[in-house]
Amino acid sequence: MNHFPGTWGRPRDDVYGPYDSSYLRSTGPKAHTQSPAVTGTSVIAVKFNGGVAIAADNLASYGSLARFTDVKRLRVFGDAAVVGFSGDVSDMQYIDRLLESMDIRENYSAHGNQLNAKNLHTYLSKVLYKRRSEFNPLWNHILVAGFDGEKKPFLSSADLLGTTFSAPHLATGFGAHLAIPILRRLFPEERPIEEITKEDAIKALKECLKVLWYRDARSLDKYSLAVITQEGIEVQEDQQIEAQSWAFAETIKGYGAQTV
């Protein structure tokens, strides 16, 4: 060891030659999170006559490892809205706390107005956009379900870039590929929402969760489901996907010519 701490821990230049630092960009821009760690998969939601139904499974994955199987990704905000989170769980917890502190502040003024789902979505999409503009995104894709200022059912999404999107049914992650086609077939665009009952909506979500359980390798058969109506929010956690179809596996033999 010599009197040049900057050289400590490095191979000696006089023996090995100077280090080729072109592979390092340590003087480059500050690097923030470039990928999520513990993640939740799809969230799916449907509007129906007089409300919105939203569902997500209870899994938090760590890569392909099904690490936590009791993670509730539907977070209730006041008595007005439910936010469904996919993506990074630590960022979900951060946003959850952000919403909680906002809820506390909103209740200081006794004007009696409460933030509705639409307000909440606007706020969250702006938080997400601000963070992506700082190159430090909150790694989530969220669905906000509830009511707007006119007391009409509201459903909208916002992603980690701050992109927003609204539709009578929405899904994040794998659900966007697997659930949306099912929901579109069940509830075509030309069919008015007034014709869709709460039971229809719940049944459709359960069907979508089942398909996701069959086809999404990061999904779980335990899920949470929330129904938001003017009467309030009903959340069912620790639900189990039922009526699965597996027995037909018996008829599958070999991968071509084989019959036994």
């Binding site: 010599n2 040049f4 701490p5 900057g6 050289t7 821990g9 490095r10 191979p11 230049d13 006089d14 090995y16 100077p18 280090y19 080729d20 630092s21 072109s22 592979y23 390092l24 340590s26 003087t27 500050k30 690097a31 923030h32 999170t33 470039q34 999520p36 760690a37 513990v38 938090a60 760590y62 490892l65 690490r67 936590f68 993670v71 990074d88 769980v89 630590s90 960022d91 979900m92 917890q93 951060y94």
Partner: protein
């Protein structure tokens, strides 16, 4: 000699070149098997004792169970330097908490503090750049740089176990396993876990699980250390490999 470093790193105020990536790649790591469980009267923490630098065992009798308050302890996995720093900071805050509020902190408070540090500094605690000194080829590798399990006992809540994995999320769990060795014992733990075990059964469970983790994970090894946290306080246990982890058992 110093001049040649002008190409890399940042020039600090004192003229010393600081290059975090060079520092990080030589780091001492806890390729580890750690766990904590709830049992009838409290919690049990357990860990192996191997610390490695690459394939070299830098310390074969490491103590990865760290006290942050009287009956709040944590298991550290990942970078030894990072997790020690985090534990030291939390320890300081809990100490202050108990003085200012004239009341011992709950396990929740410890969990919240650990999470804040892990979440807000996740960029520093996650990616590790491995650089081959001689070819200069670098590649980014995910490595558990700070995976912490917190377990504590307080008279109000009893025993509790919290886990903070890589991104800095906080999970309350019945039992928690972590570190590189944990991936080999998910099946063992799931199959053998029962709620409300006695202390004896709890110790058997933890010891049995860590024994398997050590067996299959090259980065875990050495002795098994346990800490049992109950209303009576903290008690350490030690189990040695040359007796097939049967003893000596409870130390002081």
């Amino acid at each position: 000699m110093v001049a040649s470093h002008g190409l890399t790193g940042m020039l600090g105020e004192d003229g010393i070149h600081v290059d975090m990536n060079h520092l990080k790649s030589g780091e001492v790591n806890l390729g580890t098997s750690i766990m904590a469980i709830n049992f009838k009267d409290g919690v049990i923490l357990g860990a192996d004792s191997r610390t490695t630098t690459g394939a070299y065992i830098a310390n074969r009798v490491t103590d990865k169970l760290t006290q942050v308050h009287d009956t709040i302890w944590c298991c550290r996995s990942g970078s030894a330097a990072d997790t020690q720093a985090v534990a030291d900071i939390v320890s300081y805050h809990l100490n202050m908490y108990s003085i200012v509020n004239n009341e011992a902190p709950s396990t929740q408070v410890a969990g919240a503090l650990f999470q804040e540090l892990c979440y807000e500094n996740k960029d520093m605690l996650r990616l590790v750049l491995f650089v081959n000194w001689y070819t200069g080829i670098g590649h980014l590798i995910y490595r558990c740089s700070a995976g912490i399990i917190i377990a504590g006992y307080d008279p109000r809540h009893g025993g509790q176990v919290y886990s903070i994995p890589l991104g800095g999320s906080l999970h309350k769990q019945a039992y928690s396993i972590g570190g590189s060795g944990s991936t080999y014992i998910y099946g063992y733990c799931d199959a053998n876990w029962r709620e409300n075990m006695t202390e004896e059964e709890g110790i058997q469970f933890v010891r049995g699980a860590l024994r398997e983790a050590i067996k299959w994970d090259g980065s875990s090894g050495g002795v098994i250390r346990l800490v049992v946290l109950t209303a009576k306080g903290a008690q350490r246990h030690l189990y040695l490999p040359d007796t097939d982890y049967t003893g000596p058992g409870a130390t002081y």
